[in-house]
Amino acid sequence: MKSWLTTTDHKRIGLLYFFTAFAFFLIGGIEALVIRAQLAQPNGHLVTAETYNQLFTMHGTTMVFLALMPLSASFFNYIVPLQIGARDVAFPRLNAFSYWVFLLGGLFLNASWLVGPLFHAGTLNVAPDGGWFGYANLTERQFSPGPNIDFWLLGLQILGISSLAAGFNFIVTILNLRAPGMRMMRVPAFTWMTLVTQFLVITAFPVITVGLAFLMFDRFFGAHFYVHEAGATPILWQHLFWLFGHPEVYILILPAMGIVSDVLPTFARKPLFGYTVVVYSGVLIGFMGWGVWSHHMFSVGLGPIADSVFSATTMLIAVPTGVKIFNWIATLWGGDIRGTTALHFAVGFIAMFIIGGLSGVTHASPPTDLQQTDTYYVVAHIHYVLFGGTIMGLFAGIYYWWPKMTGRLLSETLGKWHFWLQFVGMNLAFFPMHFIGLLGMPRRVYTYSPELGVSDLNLLSTIGAFLIALSIFVFLVNLLRTRTHGQRAGNDPWGGATLEWSIASPPPVYNFSVIPTVANRLPRWKTEHHEPMRDPPATPPAPIHVPGGSWWPMLAAFGLPILALAPLTHTLWLALVGAAVLLAGIYLWAFEPFEV
């Protein structure tokens, strides 16, 4: 127990990220099921409009910040150091800090479901209810007097710190901790995409931090950053949010793209087609991702110049995305394909992501977007890219790397059930939404009338959602069964090309008994140019120093939610306590002997 609380081992932190994020994924999923149950029939009355607002807000916020980002982070943690031949990340304690901040931030946000009575309101009454994008000036105290938005903005500030800290850590890890011979152009695609993602994190998060800080000053200290009467414009929030928000969607998809770029070659037994192009288009997507944010704001009326520019950049960004898709297909082409569950998910990813990308391009054009924006059509888009894309990609990663992380293979039979149920379920749930939206049903409204003519489609969609839930249940059964019944994985169950497969599953604390020297991009494969490398010996030839754990990152992390409680409860001394805890944590951390 203590060794888990104080751990600084990237593998353990990776597992902690996984289980925590998966728990939040289940919570977000339950919220989605309630939403779908409410919408199963016209004039539904399962929940009130107020509860509905909280449900969709918490669903979106949870899935983005507490499920998908940290599930990706679980692979950054576990896999990246293994892929580059390192013994840990560059700053193991900072890594632990990131995890604890994430956990506490997530708990802080979700506590809002339960603590209504403390704020003289019922339970299920003070959860955030302004949408995951929290548009100003609806979020101002004047229009949202309760603590709902406070939970949201303080929770997001906390989570931002976690992501930023991890961002610096992984950038340095990938640039500076590569094994000898592991040049940048030999780094596996997943690690490359992790690097691009982290650059997006460290540049995009400060912008939302500022936007949220303004909101904080408005709500707690009576400032006017988004108050129209004071001469301000709420559009400022939209710009700051989407300046962050669009890079954020690439933060969500690039890791999944990286996973797929590693899974496909393994199961097609062919090197990734056009590795260099895949890497560069990932970098290009990262850059271009910064130049399209206003496509979320066409309905604001930005004027013809801005509309045209952002429409053009948005259409252009589909090009590097398309390039990647062709590379993946070409990787499969003529390959010696093994239809494992991981491959199913990877191929499912490609197919679903194409559909999501296409609907994206349709709302790149302002005139059509004006018909689509704020309707269920956009909901269809985001779920094809985020569920069909990110989640499918993450599941490909789970089936692929679970054996490495636990030493046991997930059941392929259950895996196939999981895949097909999820695949059918998601298309049933999200494809009808295209029509529901085009027929005129707005998003974020808690019910609809039968006259709209979308009742059957909505029912279909709800059935799909419950199929997805069933598929996730199958996955959980698979996880549990694997603990005891899973086949032993050995070092390398798949015949992978990259370094993580050269060591035991799960790897020993020190990862590599001897740091490997890398001579090419596919070190463990035999190609026309080279023989496979020799795996490091099972026992280290010389003793290896492994850093001990530390309590202080966790202590420092606790300072943040305490600090956040101060404005929430209007208690000054909590701010002082929070700051003191944070400082104490940092000082103890800085001065404790800790040799990496």
Binding site: I171, N176, P206, F214, F225, A232, I544, V546, V596
Partner: protein, 196 residues
């Protein structure tokens, strides 16, 4: 010495110090933070619907002195680094302390300035100028405070004999932070105070 330390601290793949690299990344990230604040200041410039307005209240001579003070603190900082690098801890301590002291003077100046503005009727709640001005310069001031705390910590460590030539990299990184904060002030001084 076949332990992780050799991999992490000594033979890094770029031959660069990991902490320094992380710090440069952090500074890059901070660029976006301050840009968002400065952009907002500029966007809302001249949009306040009630006074006081910038030209009525900003005290250029006073702030010029603060600016000079911060520039000099940057000089002290590099001198501290140079001293520590050549192992001259006596001057290292003196310069570190002077840097922190000048930082404190700057903060004192900011306190005086803010108090005066409040007396003249400019608060966070007054108008958009108040919002953007206080949050921008306040964020900068918070960065200076962190820097002062950090510098004083190093100074105390040096007094205790725990900060030596071997820790020159620590001083260098502290300097990176400190100079960055100075650089941000260079921009703020121009954009907020001189271009009204």
């Amino acid at each position: 010495m076949t332990h992780a330390a050799s991999a992490a601290a000594h033979h890094t793949s770029l031959g660069l110090d990991s902490r320094k690299m992380a710090f440069w990344a952090f500074i890059g990230s901070e660029c976006l933070l301050f840009t968002s604040l400065i952009s907002t200041y500029l966007v809302y410039k001249g949009k306040s619907v009630v006074g006081p307005y910038p030209h009525e209240i900003l005290n250029i001579p006073f702030t010029s002195v603060s600016t000079f003070d911060l520039l000099m603190s940057s000089l002290m900082m590099v001198l501290a680094l140079a001293a520590v690098q050549r192992g001259d801890m006596r001057w290292g301590k003196i310069w570190l302390f002077s840097t922190a002291l000048l930082g404190l003077v700057f903060l004192g100046g900011q306190v005086i300035e803010f108090t005066e503005f409040v007396h003249k009727g400019l608060t966070l709640q007054t108008n958009l100028f108040g919002c953007t001005f206080f949050v921008l310069t306040g964020t900068h001031g918070a960065h200076v405070s962190v820097g002062v705390l950090w510098l004083l910590t190093l100074w105390v460590r040096a007094l205790q004999g725990k900060l030596t030539q071997a820790n020159a990299m620590t001083v260098e990184i502290t300097g990176l932070y400190w100079h960055f904060v100075d650089v941000v002030w260079i921009v703020i001084f121009t954009v907020v105070y001189l271009i009204q």
